[in-house]
């Protein structure tokens, strides 16, 4: 009964992912990138998705967009199943969902002018009136803090990383989408620029009434913008819960490990001797039972025999662990 039910959110979910499985063939083997993930994102909510490289968080984002087709499972956007859509129907749906990538410079065509880059989604979606397109491009550039007159005629290489990310955000916003998937949007940026972009995303969310899936590996960054946080490890969700609660009392040992590993910018906080045992196993041959058990200090026989399902350990906080740090086992 549990596995197919995502953690319910208050209000109506804009996005519901049910039992999503995504696999990649590598030679004659299979990478189990996403193995049965279910989650809900409420309208107007920001869900942070954290995990280390290779945990499947970007694949999950791409599978929501249908840029990578799932092996099984459903992606319900506003009640409609995107995995069952194709061609024009899917393209129309996609206007309502946009993506922002990690490397802002690489995601802009170096030979096209900024004005054309941002107008492109409008052209594709059939806004035929050039005057109207120009107006929309101007509006969205001003919204992200760039001067349209100085920007539209120039090429991406004339801008810094932070400015390029503003341009990418403008491109994502120009179609007035409801949902934006941000895949590591600030990882490539310097500290001082990162704060500007995070603040901008928050402003844009309020201004355009957006719902966000915010994918990142940096827990502090995720916490800064998210209402709820989902922690992913080797293709599965370990824990989902309201941001503050999850950071204050993590239930899954992996969440606790991630929190402990964050370097604190305070000389009085002596870094705890790291407890992380080894490295994540290969997603080609993930461990049986709980996938984290090979690095978990609390693992026992049950963890290798039986796969833990997500269950509620505290109000609205769900963990997939046989021996959670909080709540009755």
């Amino acid at each position: 009964m549990m596995p197919s039910v995502p953690q319910p959110v208050s209000g109506d979910p804009l996005l519901r992912v049910e039992n999503l499985v995504v696999e990649y063939p590598v030679g004659n083997k299979t990478v189990h990138a996403v193995s049965g993930v279910s989650l809900d994102i409420a309208r107007g909510e920001t869900l942070g998705l954290v995990g280390e490289s290779g945990c499947g968080k970007s694949t999950l984002g791409r599978a929501v967009m249908q840029l990578r087709r799932a092996v099984s499972g459903k992606v319900l956007f506003d009640g409609q199943d995107l995995t069952a859509m194709q061609g024009d129907t899917l393209r129309r749906m996609r206007r309502r969902v946009q993506l922002i990538f990690q490397d802002p410079i690489a995601s802009l065509n170096p030979r096209r002018r900024i004005g054309d880059i941002i107008a492109e989604p409008l052209v594709i979606s059939g806004v035929k009136d050039a005057k109207k397109r120009e107006q929309l491009v101007h509006d969205v550039l001003s919204a992200v803090g760039l001067d349209p007159h100085l920007v539209i005629g120039r090429l991406p290489h004339e801008f810094s990383g932070g400015q390029c990310q503003r341009i990418c955000i403008a491109r994502a916003l120009v179609l007035n989408p409801e949902f934006i998937i941000c895949d590591e949007p600030v990882s490539a940026l310097d500290v001082s620029i990162r704060a500007q972009i995070l603040n901008l995303l928050e402003e844009m969310k309020a201004r355009y009434g957006l719902t966000l899936l915010f994918i990142a590996h940096d827990l502090a960054v995720v916490k800064a913008v998210s209402d709820r946080v989902a922690v992913m490890y080797l293709g599965r969700l370990c824990e989902v819960g309201p941001s503050e609660q999850l950071f204050a009392q993590p239930a899954h040992p992996y969440t606790a490990l991630l929190i402990e590993a964050i370097p604190v910018p305070d000389p009085d906080v002596r870094p705890a001797e790291s407890v992380a045992v080894g490295e994540p196993p290969s997603p080609i041959a993930p461990p049986s039972g709980c996938r984290f058990r090979t690095r978990c200090p609390r693992a026992d026989q049950r963890c290798s025999d039986e796969m833990p399902e997500l269950r509620e350990v505290a109000p609205a906080q769900f963990a997939a662990c046989h021996h959670p740090l909080i709540g009755a086992a």
């Binding site: 310097d190 704060a195 590996h217 370097p263 604190v264 000389p267 870094p271």
Partner: protein
């Protein structure tokens, strides 16, 4: 305070010719580090921290012009010939770079690369070098070291590759290890392990270490002293606790404030630093940070603040309107 400096960088400047004019990457930097001590160099991309480390190692691009002195263990590295430099680098002066995939040779096995270093610098024979390599790999936390010797870099994960790079750097018991963003390419749980490893090996070997990073969190609990760089200059330098608690330079304050804090409430707006660093080919007349500084006044735009001593020993800053003094109340 400490013994004679193992390394002292004196008035080092690095100029790079570019199509857009001369780029002053490092602008008269003075730094020193004693034996067994740890110095953190912090700054954002383009601030000159990597060029400074390359100037210390004498590994600057060919076109670069270097002036000043780099005194290491009693000799000026700037004046050494190539042969003597080569003997020194790898032997008593070692380096770990950000990306272990590019610093390891992809077509040689881990073993070949380690054994080669040991044979070259320590003149060990093949058997002794191999035994030593196994010990080193075990010391940096690599499981099954004998088998790893036969593997190629691509067969290892990023964290394991960085451990190998550290093993190679440590192989000849260097007096100074320069770690240039050693954990930036790694995941958080691996980052903590690598930083612990570096700290442990440093204590054990009484080695001096320079950690170059953009992350104030990385240097906070792990260095004795920190230098903050901005636009090619050291703008503040202090014993680590003083830097975090008695900072004078508004840039240091702004940089620390801009980091999202794990104990902050969600959706708290971050005090971002407006604007961006100046174009290094068009140096400003005044303080390089003044266009972004909320405390700047007229003097800051026309005059470059010198690096001055604060009241506590070892603390220096370059600012006309320093924080935590009577000169200024927060605006």
């Amino acid at each position: 305070m400490k013994g004679p400096a193992l390394l002292s960088v004196e008035g080092v400047a690095v100029d790079l010719p570019t199509p857009r004019g001369n780029l002053r990457a490092v602008d008269h930097v003075d730094l020193s580090i004693g034996a067994g001590r740890t110095l953190g160099i912090v700054g954002e991309s383009g601030c000159g921290k990597t060029m400074l480390s390359r100037a210390i190692l004498q590994l600057l691009p060919k076109k670069a012009k270097l002036s000043g002195r780099v005194m290491f263990d009693g000799q000026d590295l700037v004046c050494l010939d190539r042969e003597r430099l080569r003997k020194l680098r790898g032997r008593s002066l070692a380096v770990v770079f950000q990306d272990p995939m590019t610093s390891l040779n992809p077509v040689l096995t881990i073993g070949t690369q380690l054994i080669e270093t040991l044979q070259e610098h320590l003149e060990l024979d093949g058997v002794a070098a191999k035994m030593r390599s196994v010990e080193l790999l075990a010391a940096v936390g690599i499981p099954a070291p004998e088998q790893r010797l036969m593997q190629y870099p691509h067969q290892l994960s990023g964290g394991m590759r960085q451990r190998v790079a550290i093993a190679i750097a440590l192989s000849c018991e260097p007096k100074l290890l320069i770690a240039d963003e050693p954990t930036t390419a790694l995941d958080v749980t691996i980052q903590a392990q690598i930083l612990d490893l570096l700290a442990r090996e440093q204590r054990r070997r009484h080695m001096a270490m320079i950690i170059i990073t953009h992350d104030l969190g990385v240097v906070a609990g792990r260095t004795d002293e920190v230098a903050v760089m901005y636009a090619g200059r050291v703008v503040e330098r202090a014993p680590t606790p003083d830097l975090f608690k008695k900072m004078r330079m508004p840039y240091t304050e702004a940089l620390l404030a801009a980091i999202p804090k794990i104990d902050a409430k969600p959706h708290t707006p971050l005090p971002a630093i407006s604007g961006r660093p100046p174009d290094p080919t068009r140096p400003l007349k005044g303080c390089s940070f003044s266009p972004r500084c909320k405390y700047a006044w007229a003097q800051c735009q026309v005059e470059k603040p010198p690096l001055e001593d604060a009241d506590s020993p070892g603390h220096q800053y370059a600012c006309f309107r320093p924080l935590n003094t009577e000169a200024i109340a927060p605006a």
